[in-house]
């Protein structure tokens, strides 16, 4: 009797051990703050991540099966969309905004430039349904996926039954995106004591702390808040940002502060992609501010920098490029999922 009890105990311990190994752990530095995403409602696991990765790169999500998430969120652009001020979707239609980069999403509490979306799990509903993006619906996506034996098998492998539901689609897409962590830039190597900034970068870092860090707060390089950074209204778009969602006058022209990580990969800049170069952005903060009523108080005084200081600041900003993230094979188009 005793022997069989011990045997059962050993088997249980072994099973618990395998379970722990099976679960996926997010890898990020200890100087990152606590994550905001509630993983208890959608625990990461390798199969679900790989399903989400396949869905992310698959144009099956769009009405005519031409546009995938990656069409506007390319891995080689830190999951942003370059070359176009405004991103384009199905049948070459031009949207209203510049698609934002996707990384470190577990630290975000809202999504989109205006914070229209309050949870990563439901974010994908927006591009799937938008007439200028994928022009489909979650119902139609379920129908298309159900007609694919490959997907029926993948859902079975992931969820242990082949039911393809919106909750499963959305949560698997979220899981893949949660693994997109950018924490291997030169800045990170300096933080980890592996290398040191050169003189120019160090000068740039001090200028950054003085002028930029209150909104683009390190180490994520955003405070995730909504701010008006003095961009004049583009009258061809009349985009009032956060106001579109809250209808509060105090939110007019407020947009979400983007992270400055991977700047070189994510041009053009701003919600409407009006600047193509980092130097244009710095010039905007020096002498291009439109003093609208809701201008962020941090910008009450223009950021005046000499030519040398601008070069130093840009040297520092370039240390935020994370080549290892951009070329991470785990994030690329999945050739085959076994």
């Amino acid at each position: 009797m005793k022997v069989s009890l011990i045997f059962v105990f050993v088997i249980l311990i072994f099973l618990m051990g395998s379970f722990c190994v099976y679960k996926y752990q997010l890898d990020y530095p200890n100087y990152f703050p606590a994550v905001k995403y509630d993983f208890s409602r959608n625990p990461l696991d390798e199969n679900t991540i790989q399903l989400g990765r396949k869905l992310f790169y698959d144009p099956i999500l769009s009405a005519d099966q031409s546009i995938s998430c990656a069409s506007c969120h390319s891995p080689f652009n830190a999951f942003a969309h370059t070359d176009h001020s405004l991103s384009h979707g199905i049948q070459d239609q031009i949207g209203q905004r510049n698609a934002p980069a996707l990384f470190n999403l577990a630290w975000h509490e809202s999504f989109m430039w205006d914070g229209a979306i309050n949870h990563l799990d439901v974010q994908a509903l927006a591009p799937i349904s938008h007439s200028k993006e994928m022009a489909s619906s979650i119902q139609d996506v379920i129908t298309r996926l159900n007609s694919s034996s490959e997907y029926r098998e993948l859902f079975f492998k992931t969820y242990h039954d082949s039911l393809i539901s919106s909750e499963r689609i959305l949560k698997s897409l979220a899981q893949f995106q949660l693994t997109l962590i950018s924490a291997n830039s030169r800045y990170d190597s300096v933080r980890q004591g592996k290398v040191e900034f050169n003189l120019q970068e160090r000068n740039g870092y001090h200028l950054f702390i003085k002028h930029c860090n209150s909104c683009h707060t390190e180490p994520l390089f955003t405070n995730h808040q909504f701010k008006s950074n003095g961009l004049s209204v583009d009258t061809t778009l009349n985009d009032y940002g956060r106001w579109n969602i809250t209808k509060m006058p105090s939110d007019s022209l407020l947009f979400k502060v983007p992270s400055l990580r991977n700047l070189s990969y994510t041009y053009p800049y701003m919600h409407d992609g009006r600047f193509n170069k980092i130097s244009q952005v710095i010039d905007h903060y020096s002498n291009g501010i439109d003093r609208s009523v809701n201008l962020s108080k941090e910008l009450n005084n223009p950021i005046l920098l000499s030519s040398n200081e601008k070069v130093d600041l840009i040297s520092f900003l370039l240390t935020l490029n994370d080549k290892a993230f951009v070329f991470n094979p785990k994030h690329q188009f999945p050739k085959k999922i076994n």
Partner: protein, 227 residues
């Protein structure tokens, strides 16, 4: 002997069935001009006509009280009442049928927690067309149709009433004193709702705003306990 045993067995079982209380239910109906609503049917409306193509709303957090004492709730939190699927108009009260209560409370709409909790299944599954996609949050009440009084394209009207953020929180709590001896049947008086609302002036409300907040309060004024 065997025959007598079988008869006795059936008699006892029959009595047990008779002695059990019938499962009570809460039902939701809608009326127009005093008639029970049929979707896609033309009703007289002033000098013109009106038809309704879609009526769906959420009922959530149903609770029962006896005076001030909380008696109980039912196991499920959110119910999508969809008039194109009549079975959804009936909510069975399995766990409440045998207890005494004299007040029922419920929400018209979904609460803020369910609006910020990510992807959901069941009645809250976004496939039901009750989740805004361009922004987060559930449409608590959806009424669509057409009437020539609307100067809109195809004379259509669309009321997508929702919003969980202050100051446009559209979920409304309803409280009714009830007689627990009978089933509870609630009726939404659409004639009253559209006459208060002046369809000719306001035919599209599709985002959280002052207008949607006002509309959500008007719906409450048009729901009555009919039995």
């Amino acid at each position: 002997m065997k025959f007598v045993t079988v008869i006795l067995f059936l008699f006892v079982n029959f009595n047990i069935v008779l002695s059990q209380d019938k499962t009570k239910a809460v039902s939701f109906n809608a009326s127009i001009n005093g008639e029970k609503l049929q979707l896609d049917y033309n009703y007289a409306f002033g000098d013109d006509s009106i038809s309704f193509s879609n009526l769906k709303f959420y009922i959530s957090d149903i609770k029962f009280y006896r005076d001030e004492e909380f008696i109980g709730s039912i196991g499920k939190k959110n119910f999508l009442i969809d008039f194109s699927q009549p079975l959804t108009q009936l909510i069975l009260l399995d766990s409440i049928s045998n207890v005494h209560y004299n007040r029922i409370e419920f929400n018209l709409g979904t609460d803020s927690l369910d609006n910020v909790s990510g992807a959901m299944s069941g009645d809250l599954d976004p496939i039901h067309g009750m989740y805004w996609t361009w922004q987060s949050g559930y449409i608590n009440f959806k009424l669509e149709g057409s009437s020539k009084v609307c100067p809109s394209r195809n004379h259509e009207f669309n009321f997508h009433i929702g919003g969980y953020l202050y100051p446009f929180t559209s979920m409304q709590r309803l409280v009714f004193e009830v007689n627990q001896s009978s089933d509870l049947s609630f009726n939404l008086d659409l004639s009253k709702l559209i006459s208060i609302h002046h369809l000719q002036n306001e035919y599209n409300i599709m985002s959280p705003s002052e207008k949607s907040l006002l509309f959500s309060k008007r719906i409450v004024d048009c729901i009555n306990l009919s039995k």
